[in-house]
């Protein structure tokens, strides 16, 4: 150990302050060196640490001594307490004790249990219920899952979609629509892809869709594809939709459709057929064949392998129709009809001819083609006399005027011959005659139709309508008119209303007819009930005849304000339609 320098030397003389200054510095330097050295002096360090440890441990263990003493005291108190217990009380209190333990266990288990396990459990139950077809249970599972999910849980969308799907399947359409609208709003967020596809399908299946709705459908599909770009359903639907819609230039959007269809061609028959149709339209028969052939072969094989199955021939026929191969389609359907004798194929055959007619109708007109069109239509009606589409084409085709009058005359004769036992042809003819103001003839036709098919509510309704109105007398022939037969009309329409379900789409019109009958009979209260009900129908706002009846009714009841209100509505309809009202029956008649 080095000794410290003598910093307190007694310095004398004039240089003493300088000397003391340097003494001080040397002492400080020595102290500094000493301190630094101590840090590295292991012996000193261990001594200090040991001392410090002793101090620390002494302070540290005293609390433990105290705690130990307290515990010993407590234990002795508990032991003494336990010794003077009355165990009879414990036995009597055992049920309460067990109850407390049970409740505590359940409470702790509930508190510690995560909701993940529960969600998994209910998800599994939902799947089981779906597989076993128990829809109410499935619905409950999804509702419970919605309660368990956090608001930002990504699985919430899937659950909500499941709930919407099962609600739709259970007939709760409004709720399903509400849920789907939340999931598939193309303007606000990404939503759930399957919901977007569902919404797109709904639009696509609506036969009265407009350009605006097709635009919405496209946005739905683009939302779905942005999340699932390889979804075969979305790609296929998008391709089919684009292939069948017109772009801004007025041409079909085939170029846009092809990439989507190519993505889904491996899994979707419709996509391949649409591709084949596109290439066929472009004249590229080779590529059309390339896409269509595997599908056709596949369906042919399936048809051959499953003779009893009727869906494959139907699909095959549909494919041929899409490819405009009408002869093959008809051949396939005829063969299937011969084998299976199903009425479904008669309807299919009739539709094949209708499709053929539509295709022929696009072609330039000439005498040969007109004859061919008539043949095709007659073939169609031959297969299915109730084919409304074929009938309407026939009506349009038979309109007087223009060329080919002779052919039409022939066809008219054929039609008159055909109608012998076809109530729908009588119905159509009656309608045609009614529109030509030939009421008496129309009444005869509808009478015949009613006799042939009295269970048809539409035929009965029309017959009741004409019975209500009778026919006015012809000029110069005072006794030529037919008087209304209100009693018979009432009996017929009452039967119709009693037999048809409340959900029948023409239910409102039936009530309209009955209301008119009551109006004619002077039973104003009953007429009011029926006509007001009829006015709640979906298209009642535009029904001129109904408003006329209501005006008459309210005038006769003395309710001029209401009559005036309906008169204003009627005028509005006239303005919109820009034509005078006529004494024609409601739409179904």
């Amino acid at each position: 150990m080095t000794l410290p320098p003598r910093h307190h030397k007694h310095r004398r003389g004039w240089f003493a302050p300088i000397g003391r200054f340097f003494d001080r510095i040397s002492y400080s330097w020595w102290r500094f060196r000493q301190r630094v050295r101590r840090v590295f002096d292991f012996r000193w360090l261990t001594t200090r640490l040991t001392l410090f440890g002793h101090y620390f441990m002494s302070g540290f263990r005293y609390p433990f001594y105290i705690i130990g003493w307290l515990l010993r005291q407590a234990w002795s108190m508990i032991a003494a307490w336990w010794q003077i217990r009355n165990f009879r009380f414990l036995i009597q209190g055992l049920p309460a004790l067990l109850g407390i333990i049970f409740i505590s266990v359940v409470a702790v288990y509930t508190a510690l249990r995560s909701s993940e396990g529960l969600q998994e459990l209910y998800q599994r139950q939902a799947l089981d219920a779906r597989l076993s077809g128990v829809k109410q249970k499935e619905q409950l599972c999804y509702e419970r899952l919605l309660q368990l999910h956090y608001s930002t849980d990504p699985r919430r969308l899937e659950t909500q979609y499941g709930l919407a799907r099962v609600s739709m399947e259970m007939g709760n359409r409004q709720r399903a629509t509400f849920l789907l609208a939340e999931l598939a709003n193309p303007d606000t967020d990404q939503g759930f892809p399957l919901a977007h596809i569902e919404s797109a399908w709904a639009i696509w299946h609506n036969p009265q869709r407009r350009a605006k709705e097709l635009d919405l459908m496209e946005r739905h599909l683009r939302r779905a594809l942005s999340k699932q770009p390889d979804s075969p359903e979305a790609n296929s639907l998008m391709g089919i939709m684009l292939a069948n819609t017109y772009g801004p230039s007025g041409t079909l959007r085939h170029d846009e459709a092809i990439p989507f269809l190519l993505k889904s061609k491996q899994t979707d028959i419709n996509a391949r057929i649409t591709l084949a149709t596109i290439f066929k339209d472009r004249g590229d028969e080779q590529r059309a064949e390339l896409y269509a052939r595997p599908v056709l072969d596949y369906l042919l094989k399936l048809s051959a392998a499953n003779i009893d199955e009727i869906t494959y021939p139907l699909d095959l026929t549909t494919c041929y129709l899409k490819l405009n191969e009408f002869e093959k389609a008809i051949e396939t359907a005829e063969k299937a009809y011969r084998n299976k004798k199903s009425e479904l194929f008669r309807a299919m055959l009739s539709n094949c001819y209708v499709a053929w007619y539509r295709w022929l109708d696009k072609m330039p007109r000439n005498a040969l083609r007109e004859r061919q069109k008539l043949d095709v239509l007659l073939q169609s009606l031959d297969w299915d006399q109730t084919n409304v589409e074929a009938l309407s084409y026939f009506v349009n085709f038979m309109k007087p005027g223009g060329g080919f009058a002779n052919e039409r005359e022939d066809a008219h004769k054929v039609l008159l011959a055909l109608r012998g036992n076809n109530p729908y042809l009588h119905l159509w003819l009656g309608q045609k005659l009614f529109q030509e103001n030939k009421f008496e003839e129309a009444r005869q036709e509808w009478d015949m139709a009613y006799k042939l098919f009295p269970d048809s509510p539409i035929i009965a309704n029309n017959f009741a309508w004409i019975l209500t109105h009778g026919s006015p007398a012809k000029q110069n022939l005072p006794n030529s008119g037919v008087a209304p037969d209100l009693g018979r009309a009432e009996a017929i329409i009452n039967q119709v209303i009693a037999r048809t379900p409340k959900e029948h789409p023409f239910r409102f019109q039936f009530h309209g007819t009955r209301g008119t009958i009551y109006l004619r009979l002077g039973q104003l209260d009953k007429a009011r009930e029926d006509l007001v009900f009829a006015s709640q129908g979906p298209n009642a706002v535009n029904d001129q005849v109904l408003h006329q009846q209501l005006i008459e009714l309210y005038r006769r009841l003395g309710l001029n304000n209401r009559a005036e209100a309906h008169r204003r509505i009627l005028e509005d309809i006239y303005r919109r339609n820009n034509r005078e009202t006529q004494g024609q029956p409601a739409e179904t008649k």
């Binding site: 309460a96 139950q125 619905q139 304000n561």
Partner: protein, 580 residues
Amino acid sequence: MSIAELPPTPEVLAPPPVQRAPREVGSSWLKYLPALIVLAAFLPMLVMHGVNLWSKPHYQFFPLVIIGSGALAYFAVQRQGRILPGRFQVAALALGFASLMGLAASAFLLSSFLAIVSFLVGLLAFIYSYGGWRLTKRLLPAWLFLWLAVPPPFNWDADFITWLKVVTAQWTSYVLDVFGILHVMQGNTVIVPPYSKLLVEEACSGIHSFFAIITCALFFVFWFGRPILHAILLLAGSVGWVLAANCARVVLIAVAQVRFGVDLAHGLRHDVLGMVIFLFLVGMVISLDRLLCFLFNSTYSFMALFKKGRMVLSRMAEAQKKKIDLGLTRWPGMGGTWVYAKPIVGIAVLLCAANYSLAALGLIEVARPSDATMVQALDTLHLDSLPPVINAGDGATAWSRLKFEVAPERPRDDKLGQFTRYWWYKHPNVDEQVTLSCDYTFYNWHDLTLCYRLNGWQMTLDKTHRPKLPNGEEDVYVEALFYNPASGQQGYLLFSLLDENGRVQAGRPTDSETLIENRLRRLREALERRPTETRFQLQLFATAYHIISEQERNLYRQLFLQYRSYLTRSYLAARQGGKP
């Protein structure tokens, strides 16, 4: 000091305090006359209180409270030796006077709550005045037990019932999750497969058993003289048992329904289940009392053991075991009590006259108001009591009646009313049909929004409309909008409460007419013999899967006002004997 020198119990040897001799009154029945007069002054209001309590199913146990209190009091005053009157008679007199003033106030406010509180205060003053501090101490448990017959003020018991239902429903959900039973909660309704709705009603929520069990536990406490900590724990434990048992009841019903297909929610099975659970609850309360005895019974002695030693303790225990017999109870005369003060008797006579007059006028209801006339008239309402077509207000469209239905009769005190008649209407511009209903009978204001909230609807708007009628009167109806998170539906509710005379009643108690106006109106009606305590409710409820627009709400409002008008006319016609 040796054990033998331990001082005897001070109560035995201490000389009785010097008291002034009670004033003697006549020996005939006349000596009880002042007390009877004071009691008679309270009687109409007490009967009214009893009638009010009886109208609440969860308070129908109150006769047992009176019997229990009587039993406690009877055994508490046995063998008490000579009883001396209280020393501070002036204080007792002041308390008694306050009690009579409370009675007067209760008669003016027609508040049976104030009356019963005044009576209990007066009773305590009488006990002290009659038997001094010693008798007061002996009778305190019995007096406290009587407070169970006093319902909490401000309708807190209704709030408590609501809370209990919600808690029961929540706990049931937790337990059903533990057992892995699929269910969906909608408010206090549990839905289990196959889509059966188990409504946690008053019976299921155990509100009836709750008050009965609390009474039972409190009787134990007072009867056995349990220490305060023991008493608090026993009461808290009883509350816990009731909640657990209610939860177990709903879980049992759900399990029986889902697993075994057995319906325990209705009929005899439900009643038997309720009775079994109640008996089980009583057993559990007794068991809990024993368990608490095991834990605490000798803890106080134990503390004494630490202080004084084991030998001293055993001596004290022996001394405690010996009953202190003070001899036959000798009662003092009642002449010194506050009820015999002349001013008090004078006030009591005045109050007697006032209260019996009010009772004769029907303002103090000593019997539940009869709803027979109203029910008879409303029961005649049928399909054609409302027109088949109701104008929608726009002149062109109309509401068409679809059907009519009478709901099955419910218990008399059901929160939805005992009877309901429904009409359904449909408008062409509205997706869903609307339900119009007439529910009866109610005896005071009925907040229908609460019923919907308890069924899982979340209220988003609650507004009371008060348009002025042409005759200057005020029309009142409540409008509320709801959202059901489980089904995603929006709900729209309009309702009014009408009295027996077909007049629309004021809204909720918070926004009712002023107190003076109310009393004057009721006095006027009483003088005209037109009792108006029975009410029926008219409501319109519509649902939609979209936000209900202002236009639709206007349509509903028009329909509701017309419906109310038509139905009131039909009802009044039926009441006068005509065809509705």
